[in-house]
Point group: C2
Chain length 111, copies 2
Amino acid sequence: MIRNQQEEVQALQDTIYVIGGKWRLPIINSICNGNKRFREIERSIPGITTRMLSRELKDLEMNKLITRTVYDETPVLVEYESTDYCKSFGPVILAMIAWGKEHKKKITQKS
Amino acid sequence: MIRNQQEEVQALQDTIYVIGGKWRLPIINSICNGNKRFREIERSIPGITTRMLSRELKDLEMNKLITRTVYDETPVLVEYESTDYCKSFGPVILAMIAWGKEHKKKITQKS
DNA sequence: GTAACCAGTATAACAGAGTATACCAGTTAT
DNA sequence: ATAACTGGTATACTCTGTTATACTGGTTAC
């Protein structure tokens, strides 16, 4: 039953690496919920600092999960948007939400 | 369209917290593939140290993803096994593997 | 003009994840 | 008896994710 284990573990670690950390998912979530502007996203995520948001947005853009568009209007306007690719991650995210909820119940049960 | 966002983000972060980090998934994977003994698991994961394996196994046990059974035979025998609960995470893991593979292709494409 | 917004960057410090290396008590194999 | 196995623990270090705080240059509102 040992298929291409090495490769699968690598793929798993890649996925974890892309969406891991404290802020990635909340940011993705915020953008998927329609927030486009930097400050708008910042305000929607309690506790995040501009530094972290800035860094994470760059990583997410590099990984093609979001796009960053600069509109060269008089007050420079920047918009972040989730890609279709990001949305392709939807099922995994939903599964993780469901699992997280069940998990909390399970762990807080009296032993 | 804003459902219980706060709660969902929390659930997401819980899930990430449980399976995040460099070694959790490889360990789960190893145990699910039939490795039961400490040194056996250790050898199956290139690069891991006994310290990390020890710590992660404790966390995974606390989160009820694996069981630790001590058989009080003459050479003390310890067996780790994945729980049904851990297996319930299977679909998410498979989705993550698939996503990770696709992602690698996507990112390494010429831009 | 000064206060508040925009989209960030700079610098420094902290805390926890991860690494490196050695060691322990006990058992089995030669 | 000496080496190699078992299932780990101890100590010390590095490294990076995260925080805290301040600041920039430009625009708009009062």
